[in-house]
């Protein structure tokens, strides 16, 4: 069977993507920042009709066309959109690969008759693209190069074996050459592919290298060229539809169990574990409810995950019933298979399960651990980080005694650089029994902390005769006494 290749080119992929969501009547451009200048990345038809072109600076374009609307380009979103289009294009044939940043290449060998012939196939593509608001140029030929040339420069079909005739009249640029090579060929008077094909090959190869002839041969079918579709990114989502709506939370849990089993199978096959799971429950009245489960550690054991959903599912309002459930692992981490040891250590899984369960109630970020930090400032000598994302560790070496509780400084009435013999704090009258100090701590000048505006502090440990052991400080640069902590 002769090979038939379709090249789909979306000349205005970026603007079409944006305008699909938010249509604009007048000229519209997407801009990209290159070396301190906003340049036009992509234009719509009206913009091109105004005489604007790609690569133009936005300031110039505004001068030509004052009512130009613009938005920043998002190449990452464009790439994702192209991947979606690639998935859509598998309706025509199973073998779809990307072609540059704005095109697709399809190997439709043997599948054109399903669409009623080649011209009917192209017509269907055009019709659907137009309905989706996309500009589309299509070429169909026996080779990938010829299909590309037709899509970009002529559009249409080259019959099997007729590539040479179909391409003869097309410009040199249709061979996917570098812009520099094209200019040099044109200077030599070789303007069309027909001219090039008729020229002696040896001098061309000597002058332009093998690349030019390779492109020519690929277009003519004398050199093979493969289409290599990218493997789809693993998709960790499963869904379940019911013939009749369900409403009992027990039924929902059974449904969740089935979904979890399927999802965990997928995760296991790729040695991955879910970190965030979201369960979407679609109701009969088209409303949907979401149950999000954030796990303290990556997991893929359905029996352990299922009980964690109980709380979230219990809160769901089923309304008139739920007829579709979808479970997605929205954040996935690697979870390699572990060696089974003979000695059983303390079970870290049980602890992370408990943290997850607590986290579903109070929020996973509210279960915290202390980590040591490198600072003399008492409030900054430690970090608080969520236990789910922190590994306990670091050494706590404390040179000087530190209070057990710290609070925002509370002023007391006292003067002088020595701790007062008697003072009142929190409506208690206290007298100093023993004072140890001072320990001078100066503010970190590289951080502007409003609490330390009063300058350096002289800390004293004051043991009162009443029993309380307090941490007092004096600010010599800005005289005043404060209580900041209490010892055990």
């Amino acid at each position: 069977m002769t090979r038939r290749i379709v090249c789909m080119w979306f000349p205005r992929l970026a603007t079409d993507r944006v305008l699909r969501a938010r249509p604009v009547l007048g000229p519209f451009a997407l801009t990209e920042r290159h070396s301190n200048t906003d340049r036009i990345h992509c234009l719509n038809v009206q913009g091109e009709a105004e005489g604007l072109h790609r690569g133009m600076s936005l300031a110039d374009a505004r001068a030509f066309c004052p009512d130009l609307l613009s938005a920043p380009a998002r190449p990452d979103h464009d790439a994702r959109f192209l991947r979606i289009l690639g998935r859509w294009a598998t309706r025509y044939c199973p073998w779809v690969g990307p072609e540059g940043p704005d095109g697709l290449v399809l190997d439709v060998t043997g599948s054109t008759h399903l669409w009623g012939g080649e011209s009917a196939l192209l017509q269907d593509m055009h019709m659907r693209a137009e309905r989706a608001g996309l500009t589309l140029c299509v070429g169909l030929a026996g080779t990938r190069g010829a299909a590309w040339a037709l899509a970009h420069h002529a559009q249409g079909i080259a019959d099997p074996g007729e590539e040479q005739a179909a391409l003869a009249g097309l410009p040199i640029a249709a061979l996917r050459l570098e812009a520099q090579t094209v200019v040099r060929l044109q200077r030599m008077g070789l303007r069309t592919i027909g001219d090039l094909a008729g020229t002696a090959r040896a001098p061309l190869a000597r002058r332009f290298g093998q690349g030019l002839l390779l492109r020519l041969d690929q277009a003519m079918g004398q050199q093979p060229e493969a289409i290599s579709p990218e493997a789809d990114a693993p998709h960790y989502a499963v869904r379940l539809s019911f013939p009749d709506p369900i409403g009992l939370s027990g039924d929902v849990m059974v449904g969740t169990e089935r979904l979890l089993a399927a999802l965990c199978e997928k995760l296991k096959a790729r040695e991955a574990g879910a970190r965030v799971l979201s369960l979407t429950l679609r109701r009969v009245d088209q409303g949907s409810q979401q149950v999000e489960l954030r796990l303290a550690a990556a997991m893929r054991d359905p029996a352990r995950i299922l009980p964690l959903f109980e709380r979230g599912v219990g809160d769901v309002d089923a309304g008139f019933g739920i007829d579709q459930m979808r479970l997605e692992a929205s954040v996935v981490e690697d979870l390699p298979v572990q060696q089974v040891g003979a000695v059983r250590k303390a079970d870290p899984d049980r602890l992370s399960d408990l943290i997850t369960r607590i986290g579903t109630r109070i929020g996973l970020e509210n279960v915290q651990r202390f980590l040591p930090a490198d600072s003399h400032i008492p409030e900054r000598s430690f970090l608080i980080s969520p236990a789910a994302f922190a590994t306990p560790g670091g050494s706590w070496s404390v040179m000087r005694p530190r209070p057990l509780s710290l609070f925002p400084p509370e002023p007391i009435a006292a003067t002088g650089p020595r701790p007062p013999a008697r003072f009142r704090w929190r409506r208690m009258s206290l007298s100093t029994g023993r004072a140890t100090g001072p320990e001078r701590i100066t503010p970190e000048w590289w951080l502007d902390d409003p609490n330390w505006r009063a300058g350096m502090r002289d800390y004293w440990i004051v043991e009162t005769r009443e029993g309380r052991r307090l941490w007092l400080y004096h600010t010599p640069q800005n005289p005043g006494w404060f209580v900041q902590g209490e010892f055990a």
């Binding site: 408990l354 109630r361 306990p392 005694p401 005769r465 209490e486 055990a488």
Partner: protein
């Protein structure tokens, strides 16, 4: 009250205890140090006062400590019950601001019994629950002679034993609790 009785320490397992007074937090730190394994310390997130790990490391290895910031006391009780029942964390500390009703206190006891874990509630003075196994009043006191940090531990409620008062001192080096003879006053 005779002061020569044996200090009932460590606290009875699979029970929930209560402590109040100015030294309650130090008591909780000593309690956490006695636990073998992780410690979960729950407190309401609106507290301006915070626990300083620099002070806590006198008592225990801070990497064993898990802090839970709970929005309300009801959440704190629910989390404590969950953790006590699970049994993977041997010691759970909860700072309370309002009195417990008998049902809540009883539920905590049952959870501790199921999970074989020990709980400790830091309560405001006079807001004890009837379900508590023991209740302690802890206050630091001033020792004019030695440069040490003694505390006075008084047991004010004990379901399975007698009451008593002890003067204790925490040893930073050996991480041990020493009962000191009362000063001759």
């Amino acid at each position: 009250m005779p002061a020569d009785r044996q200090l009932p320490w460590p606290l009875r397992k699979a029970r929930v205890h209560e402590v109040f007074g100015p030294g309650a937090r130090a008591f909780a730190a000593v309690f956490s140090a006695a636990a073998r394994g992780d410690v979960l310390w729950l407190r309401e997130s609106w507290h301006g006062e915070m626990i300083n790990p620099g002070g806590l490391c006198r008592f225990l290895d801070v990497s064993r400590l898990l802090m839970g910031q709970v929005p309300t006391q009801a959440d704190g009780l629910a989390v404590m019950e969950e953790a006590l029942r699970d049994g993977v964390i041997p010691a759970v500390v909860l700072e309370l601001t309002r009195p417990l009703d008998p049902k809540q206190g009883r539920r905590l006891q049952l959870a501790a019994k199921t999970g074989e874990t020990t709980g400790l509630c830091l309560i405001p003075e006079g807001m004890g629950s009837n379900a508590a196994e023991t209740r302690w009043h802890v206050a630091p006191f001033f020792d004019p002679q030695a440069d040490s940090t003694p505390m006075r531990w008084e047991i004010t409620k004990n379901k399975q034993g007698t009451l008593g008062v002890w003067n204790v001192r925490w040893d930073d080096q050996t991480h041990r609790l020493h009962v000191v003879p009362p000063a001759g006053d």
